[in-house]
Symmetry: C2
């Protein structure tokens, strides 16, 4: 994704995955397609290695974050995450105050 | 790391690594030892897979973030990152407004 300009919001999602990844990759792909049409969505950066995932998504407003949280397919994914895919997770809603990027 | 209570600050560091990782792991270990004694440091979460790194560190105040940025060993690491280890990177300073965690 491109550089994101402050002010905007970042949702930091950190999780530990269980060994049950049935449906996980398919759901991640489906959500990525859906989120790109979601109002206020600015982009995402994520890295998953073995059982550790960090995904940071960027949003224009807090209301945009709330709307995505309530999106029906995303709500289903959250429920599956709790019941199957994640053994623990953290969600942090942050206001980006400043950011800079550099291509070396 | 444990759950971090808002209000606090998160520094989201995202980078693409070059193929030159000489000294990278040793520096990461050294910085981890140093940062744990840095005033206002609350914790870190990071995942690196192949050439992608996301590291989120948590701080009590913006002044604590600035002090760590200026810490001499960290400043050396930043210079080496620019000259050797990273082909691009983004740094985002964010105020955590709320957060929740769950063990499933």
């Amino acid at each position: 994704m491109n550089h994101v300009e402050a002010p905007c919001y970042a949702v930091i999602f950190t999780a530990t995955l269980t060994e049950d990844n049935d449906g996980y990759v398919a759901m991640a792909k489906k959500l990525q397609t859906l989120v790109e049409n979601q109002p206020g969505y600015l982009g995402v950066r994520g890295v998953t290695k073995r059982d550790r995932e960090i995904t940071v998504s960027y949003w224009r407003t807090l209301e945009d974050i709330q709307s995505w949280k309530e999106q029906p397919h995303h709500a289903t994914a959250q429920a599956l995450g709790k019941s199957k895919w994640y053994s623990d997770y953290q969600v942090e809603i942050c206001k980006m105050e400043r950011g800079y990027s550099r291509s070396v």
